[in-house]
């Protein structure tokens, strides 16, 4: 019995890591792209919420969940583009504008999202990867949302692309040393604007996950700060896509701890366990902090760490 409960717990955590971790993955990959170019976008939380809303609205209006995802990506792209363009103006601080963008994104989403709180939009169907397993618990855990494989693909693509494509190298060059990039006639501003836009599109898709997969509806309290946590995740991941994947999964797993414990009948401190990801972030950041060292891997032009 105890062994059975333990298996249930483990399965719950694995399934939960994917379920809870997917939006973290998309948002942190987006932030990773943006920060590699030397900009910080703190507005990802706003983009996430706006993405969630537009995905839901798009899916409802066209009755196609995938169109909803496209809408979210597009809205994220546009908001990211706005951030990129505004921060290219002289004397604009990317951190300050990021906070403004966060509020703007949330506000727009709430304003335009009012009519979509009640109706039911089509959801993204899950991929039943565990259909061949007898155990119903595994079947549930392995009924993976289709955005997760997409996220894995993106992780691999970024990991390879940062080193082995012209675009990736240009991105890292611009983020690492602006003077060198200019001396090499690399279009610094263009690269940053595009990177911020691409990062916004990723965050938008992360938002689509929230409204179209899990929890799977549009409401004003949908996000629990995934967009803000992503900034910490990227630092924790040391600006590596594979690190982002690991961090997102770790976060998902700790986030799923409460529900998984509840599933085996242990519900004391449910809300305390829900706070586990945040406690974990703090613990990891404190443990990995070195007051007399620079962060290894930080892009040189990043205003956060400079």
């Amino acid at each position: 019995m105890a062994e059975d409960a333990l298996t249930t717990l483990a399965i719950g955590i694995i399934g939960g890591a994917i379920r809870v971790g997917t939006p973290y993955l998309f948002v942190s990959l987006g932030e990773c792209i943006t920060e590699k170019s030397g900009r910080v976008n703190l507005g990802l939380e706003g983009i996430l919420v706006a993405g969630a809303m537009s995905a839901y609205a798009g899916a409802y209006l066209t009755q196609s969940a995938w169109t909803g995802v496209m809408c979210a990506a597009l809205v994220g792209l546009l908001l990211g583009l706005l951030h990129g363009l505004v921060c290219s103006l002289p004397r604009v601080n990317d951190i300050a504008f990021g906070i403004a963008l966060m509020l703007l994104g949330i506000g727009l989403a709430f304003f335009f999202g009012k009519p979509y709180i009640q109706p039911q939009a089509p959801q993204l169907p899950s991929l039943p990867l565990g259909a061949w397993i007898e155990d119903a618990r595994w079947r549930t855990a392995l009924a993976i949302n289709p955005l997760f494989p997409l996220g894995l693909l993106l992780t691999g693509l970024l990991h390879w692309g940062f080193r082995s494509t012209r675009i990736g190298l240009a991105l890292r060059l611009v983020g690492d040393h602006e003077g060198t990039a200019r001396a090499l006639a690399c279009p610094v501003r263009q690269v940053r604007v595009l990177a911020t836009a691409a990062g916004g599109a990723c965050a938008g898709i992360g938002g689509a996950y929230l409204s179209l997969v899990y929890p799977g509806s549009w409401s004003e309290g949908l996000s629990s700060g995934q967009g803000i946590m992503a900034v910490a995740l990227v630092i924790f991941a040391r600006w590596r896509p594979l690190g982002c994947l690991a961090a997102a999964m770790l976060f998902g797993a700790t986030g799923a701890l409460g529900p998984a414990l509840q599933a085996i009948g242990y519900s004391a401190g449910y809300h305390l366990f829900n706070a586990a990801p945040y406690a974990l972030t703090l613990a990891i950041l404190i443990a990995s902090a070195r007051p007399h060292r620079t962060l290894a891997g930080a892009p040189g032009e990043l205003s956060l760490t400079r």
Binding site: L173, A183, P299
Partner: protein
């Protein structure tokens, strides 16, 4: 490749930075460009490289008129620049930096193929840098070599070098310049060399052009000039006596033999947690100027930062006048410990603050500037600033100007004014004349000797061995974070010093 500049001019608002300057770099030669800071060398060169196009003037490459509106155009024409400030991305590897320099890259980079190509190139290059190393892990000398390698890799045929040897040891500088001259004389490249060092002009250049206040004042083949001649051209007729006066070195005061500054088995880590100073011990006596020589990147930077309180030592002790010293503000004040950190604008000043505020950073929390109730008297700050600006000849003499708008030499003078206006017991100095012109160098050297003569224990770390040989009573050589050699300056042999700096035999 031959380069000819005819009647070059450039204005910034009402300021005429460059006025009717002409020069000719003959094919297969090294041409030196000399002048004080602000003489217009950088403006001219930025025009040649397309970074900041000129307002007037013609450019001829191999007798053909060309236009260079942007850096890409310069690259297409085969003109390459090695900047004084490194233009390599520190977070990327050597291979990635070389590859990026190439400009047009394929969308997908085939690393295996690129690595073979780069290894081939490196095997033929005059010097080597590890390809897979992140640039941040290279020493200054290696970075400078990488800059030059980058130009060779691009097959540029006219290289413009902006003080390329300022961070190299004498041997490295000789090696690099010798190789460049060899390549030039073989007809592979032509070189335009900006430098402050007369010895480099006389030993390695074929011809020289001197600029002063934006105008060309002289030009000649090197065989026809002497160091004295060059100094006259650079300074003009009004060369101040301070520049040519030899350093006035008092005999070391007797009885001052008790060490003032004692470093005992000090270990210091760098930003990445690597030990850069390893159980290093040294002592400096009162009235003694000790030079710390070494190839950049051997722990001097971390040692000086630990002594100045900019970095925490992980092991060992520092004692000043016998008392433990942690570079706390009260200790610095009590023991009269002062410092001239390298890159004074970044490590010794707050750029956007005024000159007056920067001059008060040591004593704003003491009377007379501090008044009752913790208030600060701005009148006292300004009065102090006016006195110190006059005493140290900081230009322009405006106490309210942000210090970041001053030229390098004047920032260094302002920091000197702050650190040397009160009696000094211990003075810690790092690369005090890096990138400064002739006049500023002479001035600063005189001030350091003055502090020594007045009885201070002075420790000077410098990448410029000539500077240390001029200044120091005693020389220490640092390598790999340890002192590996010690000698009196009078009795030392440059070649031997160089060997100790390089690998010690």
């Amino acid at each position: 490749m031959a380069l000819e500049v005819i009647g070059a001019g450039k204005s910034f608002g009402a300021f005429r930075a460059l006025d009717d300057v002409s020069l000719r770099v003959a094919p297969g030669t090294v041409h030196a460009l000399l002048g004080e800071n602000g003489a217009g060398k950088s403006t001219l060169v930025k025009g040649l490289i397309g970074y900041q196009p000129l307002d007037q003037g013609q450019l001829l490459l191999d007798q053909r008129e060309v236009e260079i509106p942007d850096p890409r155009a310069a690259q297409r024409l085969g003109i390459g620049m090695v900047y004084q400030h490194f233009t390599v991305a520190p977070g990327l590897t050597v291979a990635e930096n070389l590859l990026l320099a190439r400009g047009r890259l394929p969308l997908r980079i085939r690393w295996r193929q690129v690595q073979t190509e780069l290894a081939d190139f490196m095997a033929r290059a005059p010097f080597r840098v590890p390809l897979e190393a992140p640039v941040a892990s290279l020493g200054a000398g290696e970075k400078q070599k990488l800059e030059i390698l980058k130009q060779l890799y691009l097959r540029n045929r006219l290289l413009i070098l902006d003080e390329p040897t300022s961070v190299l040891t004498v041997q490295e500088a000789g090696e690099v310049l010798g190789l460049l001259r060899g390549m030039a004389h073989a007809g592979d490249i032509s070189v335009l060399l900006i430098t402050h060092k007369f010895s480099e002009v006389l030993d390695y250049a074929d011809a020289v052009t001197v600029l002063r206040r934006g105008r060309r004042v002289a030009g000649a083949p090197v065989e026809q000039v002497s160091a004295q001649r060059l100094a006259q051209w650079i300074m003009g007729e009004s060369a101040s006596p301070a520049v040519t006066r030899p350093l006035d070195r008092a005999p070391r005061p007797a009885g001052g033999d008790a060490p003032r500054l004692v470093v005992d088995r000090l270990t210091v880590h760098d930003d990445r947690g690597l030990a850069r100073v390893r159980a290093l011990s040294l002592a400096v006596r009162s009235g003694e100027l000790v030079g710390l020589a070494g190839i950049a990147g051997n722990g001097q930077k971390e040692l000086i930062e630990a002594l100045c309180g900019q970095r925490v030592a992980v092991g060992g002790t520092i004692r000043v006048d016998g008392m433990p010293f942690h570079a706390a503000r009260t200790q610095m004040h009590r023991h009269r410990v002062f410092a001239l950190p390298e890159e004074p604008l970044h490590k010794g000043c707050v750029g956007p603050l005024s000159v007056a505020d920067n001059l008060a950073l040591r004593n704003f929390d003491r009377p007379p500037i501090r008044r009752a109730g913790g208030r600060v008297s701005f009148a006292a700050i300004r009065a102090q600033a006016r006195r110190r600006i006059a005493a140290f000849d900081v230009r322009p003499p405006d106490p309210l100007r942000p210090i970041a708008t001053l030229s390098g030499g004047n920032v260094q003078r302002a920091v000197l004014a702050r650190e040397l206006s009160e009696p000094v017991n211990v003075l810690i100095v790092a690369n005090p004349t890096f990138g400064l012109d002739f006049r500023a160098v002479a001035d600063i050297h005189a001030r350091l000797i003055e502090a020594r003569n007045a009885g201070a224990a002075v420790l000077v770390a410098s990448d410029d061995l000539d500077e240390l040989l001029t200044l120091a009573d005693r020389l220490l050589v640092i390598r790999g974070g340890r002192i590996v050699h010690e000698t009196d300056t009078g009795a030392c042999d440059r070649a031997e010093l160089g060997r100790h700096m390089a690998d010690g035999h």
